[in-house]
């Protein structure tokens, strides 16, 4: 198959530095929209993007999950009654894929039980009662000469998309022979500001670690994709990346530009077949959060015990971006940040792709991007499709959601329809814009799952 990607000039997306006139013209006009469809959403970031990331300490016990994904096996390293220091191992990985977890603060293990996470349901957890002394483990010296892969695994760095430990993502990418690395800092979903704050506050480290990861991956290009509209951030990153081999791509940010498939289409003009991954074309797309966590692990030699997340929504009093200990119950987090009135909707993640919290006792995990609390639910009363075509115009991949929705009641579907179903990115834009308030995205997702299970019964076992 080959690479499918040539090193084409992407000058319409990358800021052309060599011609000052063109550059200023580019600054004036902005980049052109790089894919069909998409929508500029009201982003609700004005408040949270201006507040610096704050460390949020929560009183009360932490329910630290002992594993990061349900299928990654670990064994607990602590027993009930142990006193642990900050950064101490709570669990050891038992397989190559798995990663260890660490204590976010010093304290006593009071119980080994289970904690609800929105993405995995119940996971085994250690309930840690903090003593408030924040005693840290003495800096470990043994990993200095270890490889990057081992360091990432030992420090428990997690990647949110694909949702796997970063070291296994990198190993897989190296095995697949990637040629391009894209660091995805687009964050086009409303309310989310964690990536933006990280770009502002840790610009130097991001470039350093991107170079290191690019070395480890052996890629020929490393691209950092930034939203064009934050021009000062773009300028800063350009200055930072000057002379390094990280390219800065300032891009327009209509909504699903943060999706890896759309990003690859826009940056490298390479289309991925429905159901495929970006890895098939020799590209790896890493979210910025994973890169920042890798910076903490590689540069500071610290285990990952905190995650940077946005707490926002109209039911939140002091919306902002916070550094929160993994294992903090969402409830305590919300009460600490402050609530206004009644919470009618609690969402983990962005408002368009995030998951409803599912359980009142949900806890923060390493891949939690945001906690959004809304004071109204926006009930929808669907009416029959009015053929306005908004979903068709805005769909980032060009499928026809209303016609795919009719497959819901069908017993089977053709191969073409199946490939259209698989092409869907689950970005939720069709449901967002639908004036008839039809649950388009949800239905497509459900129908696809049903047909996939029908076609491959082996998957069920």
């Amino acid at each position: 198959m080959g690479r499918g990607i040539q090193t084409q000039p992407c000058s319409q997306f990358l800021v052309p530095l060599q011609f000052p006139l063109m550059s200023s013209l580019f600054n004036l006009l902005g980049p052109r929209k790089a894919f069909d469809g998409g929508l500029f959403l009201p982003d609700h970031k004005s408040v949270t993007s201006r507040r610096a990331v704050e460390l949020l300490r929560v009183d009360g016990p932490l329910h630290v999950p002992l594993t990061v994904r349900q299928d990654l096996k670990t064994e607990p390293n602590v027993r009930v009654g142990d006193r642990v220091l900050k950064g101490e191992r709570l669990s050891n990985s038992t397989s190559h894929e798995s990663i260890a977890t660490h204590a976010p603060t010093s304290g006593k293990i009071v119980e080994l039980s289970r904690a609800w996470t929105t993405q995995d349901g119940y996971l085994p957890c250690a309930v840690l009662e903090p003593d408030g002394r924040e005693e840290a483990l003495p800096q470990h010296q043994g990993w200095e000469d270890e490889s990057l892969i081992v360091q990432l695994a030992e420090h428990g760095v997690m990647c949110s998309e694909p949702r796997a430990p970063l070291h296994s993502v990198i190993k897989e990418a190296v095995a697949a022979g990637v040629t391009d690395l894209i660091v995805n800092a687009m964050e086009t979903e409303p309310y989310l500001t964690a990536d933006l704050r990280m770009l502002v506050e840790e610009h130097g480290r991001i470039i350093d670690v991107t170079c290191e990861l690019a070395d480890a991956l052996g890629v020929s290009r490393a691209i950092l994709a930034l939203p064009f509209r934050h021009r000062r951030v773009v300028k800063r990153m350009e200055a930072e990346a000057h002379g390094r081999y990280v390219e800065i791509a300032a891009m327009a940010n209509p909504y699903p530009q943060c999706q890896p498939l759309v990003l690859v289409k826009a940056l490298l003009d390479c289309e991925i077949a429905p159901g495929g991954r970006v890895l098939d074309k020799g590209v790896i797309v890493l979210p910025l959060a994973a890169v920042v966590q890798a910076a903490e692990a590689l540069l500071d030699d610290r285990p990952i015990t905190h995650t940077v997340m946005t707490v926002a929504g109209d039911a939140v009093e002091r919306a902002g971006t916070y550094r929160v200990a993994i294992g903090t119950p969402m409830r305590h987090l919300a009460e600490r940040v402050g609530l206004v009135g009644r919470v009618a909707k609690a969402v983990c993640g962005g408002p368009l792709t995030g998951l409803a919290m599912g359980h009142e006792e949900a806890v923060v995990t390493a891949t939690t991007k945001a906690l959004l609390l809304f004071s109204e639910t926006e009930p929808s009363i669907p009416v029959p499709c009015i053929h306005c075509g908004w979903c068709v115009e805005d769909c980032p991949v060009g499928i026809d959601p209303p016609s795919l929705m009719q497959l819901e009641s069908k017993p089977n579907c053709t191969n073409l329809e199946m490939s259209h179903l698989k092409a869907c990115l689950d970005c939720g834009l069709c449901s967002y814009v639908c004036p008839a308030q039809l649950p388009l995205g949800e239905t497509i997702h459900r129908t696809r799952t049903r047909f996939e299970q029908q076609r491959e019964p082996a998957c069920l076992t």
Binding site: G37, E54, R57, L261, V262, K265, E271, I272, A273, P274, G276, E317, R318, R331, A334, E335, R336, V337, G338, L339, V340, G341, R342, V343, A344, K345, A346, V347, P351, L352, T353, A356, M357, E360, F374, T377, E378, V383, P384, I386, H387, C388, G389, V392, E393, P396, V397, G398, I399, S419, H420, A423, D426, G428, L429, Y432, P435, A436, P439, E442
Partner: protein, 389 residues
């Protein structure tokens, strides 16, 4: 150290709000908002029509809206299928139907037309043909004489300057030498003028083989027969209640485009293709056909351009382009499809106006293109990402 006090709010999450599929926020424009905005702009156009044509126009609009609402309620009872948001849609259908009628039409025309629009247009065709236009073309066939639009040299009334809103169209008098609405006319007792509709003039011009005047064809037409261009801009010519005022229709359309409920491609293509068709299509002058009428220059005046301009503003086409063609249900889903759809409407309108005998040519053109919407949608699908090769 960072510190926030505990605040007023409490963590009260109800069970049912803990679930639910993404997206958790919605765009906020529902079908109700769309229809409401259309009703708003249609009533603005109607309001101007009432000012121009007097209380008779108001009666027709109110009667058609009322009948549409009653018919829709009846349909809901008969079909036992009550739906949300049906009432505003019926109001919009009735209003748009009323806008296409001339103010001189008798009230029973409005009643019958609204009923047909709702029962046949919405009930039978399910909204895939523009319901209001279905009603319009049917009453056109039923009540040819009362609508008094066909036939040679039929004059229609327009209120005189002092009688706007309150004048009676029945007291209008034919004017021998019409110099435009603003020019004082010799007869002072009449509450209005009776002149030919500009569309009728254009049709007569192209179909009756106008004898040349000093070797000029277009110049006498523009100078003597057609009203001044300002009149067609402000709607001071006879015609349907909402058909005549170009300025008001453009404002309405721009507002809809601004709100995102109408794609700019549609009216632009309708008008552009109509202008192109009128510029090219041959007209029957003197002894033979003349192609490219837009290029005509007579006595140093670009009369060809004026001729094309009158085709656009003389009535129906503006209403069709801005308020009727862009009906959400009955127009293609994609902007690309709407380009084809709009081009079809423009060309067909001019074609039927020049060579056909049907009245309401723009309405027929829209209905014909509505019937093709399914085909256009099928042909103009978007390429799916990753499936192009």
């Amino acid at each position: 150290m960072f510190d926030i006090a505990m605040t007023r709010g409490r963590w009260i999450v109800e069970e049912r709000s803990l679930t639910g599929a993404a997206p958790h926020r919605k765009g906020g424009s529902t079908h109700v908002h769309i229809v409401r905005t259309w009703i708003l702009v249609a009533s603005l156009v109607g309001l101007w029509g009432v000012v121009l044509f007097g209380v008779a126009a108001l009666k027709i609009l109110v009667m058609s809206v009322l009948c549409a609402v009653i018919a829709d309620m009846g349909m809901q009872i008969v079909t036992r299928r009550p739906g949300t948001g049906r009432l505003p849609r019926a109001v919009l259908t009735g209003l748009l139907f009323g806008l296409t009628l001339p103010a001189t039409a008798p009230l029973h025309v409005a009643i019958v037309g609204s009923l047909i629009a709702i029962i046949i247009g919405q009930g039978v065709f399910g909204g895939f043909l523009h319901s209001a236009l279905v009603g319009r073309v049917v009453v056109q066939a039923f009540f040819v004489n009362s609508l008094s639009l066909s036939g040679a040299l039929v004059t229609s009334p327009i209120l005189a300057p002092g009688y706007l809103l309150v004048g009676n169209l029945d007291h209008a008098e034919p004017v021998a030498d019409y110099q435009g609405w603003l020019t004082p006319q010799p007869s002072t007792t009449a509450e209005g003028y009776k002149i030919e509709r500009p569309v009728q003039t254009l049709r007569r011009f192209t179909q009756d083989r106008v004898p040349p005047d000093d070797g000029n064809f277009y110049e006498p037409l523009v100078r003597d027969e057609l009203p001044p261009w300002k009149d067609t801009i402000f709607g001071l010519v006879p015609g349907g209640i909402g058909e005549t005022c170009t300025l008001m229709l453009i404002i309405a359309g721009v507002f809809l485009i601004h709100r995102g409920y109408l794609r700019w491609q549609l009216p632009v293509t309708v008008l552009a293709s109509a202008a192109l068709a009128a510029s090219i299509m041959p007209v029957n002058l003197g002894a033979d056909y003349h192609w490219f009428p837009v290029l005509e220059v007579e006595q140093g005046r670009a009369v060809g351009l004026a001729y094309v301009f009158f085709h656009l503003t003389a009535g129906q086409l503006m209403l069709g382009a801005f308020l009727l063609a862009g009906d959400v249900v009955a127009s293609p889903m994609r902007a690309h499809g709407q380009l084809v759809f709009g081009a079809g409407i423009g060309v067909l309108t001019i074609f039927m106006r020049l060579y056909g005998t049907l009245e309401g040519e723009c309405y027929w053109a829209i209905l014909i293109m509505n019937a093709l919407v399914g085909t256009i949608n099928r042909r103009m699908k978007r390429p799916v990402l990753g499936l192009a090769g």
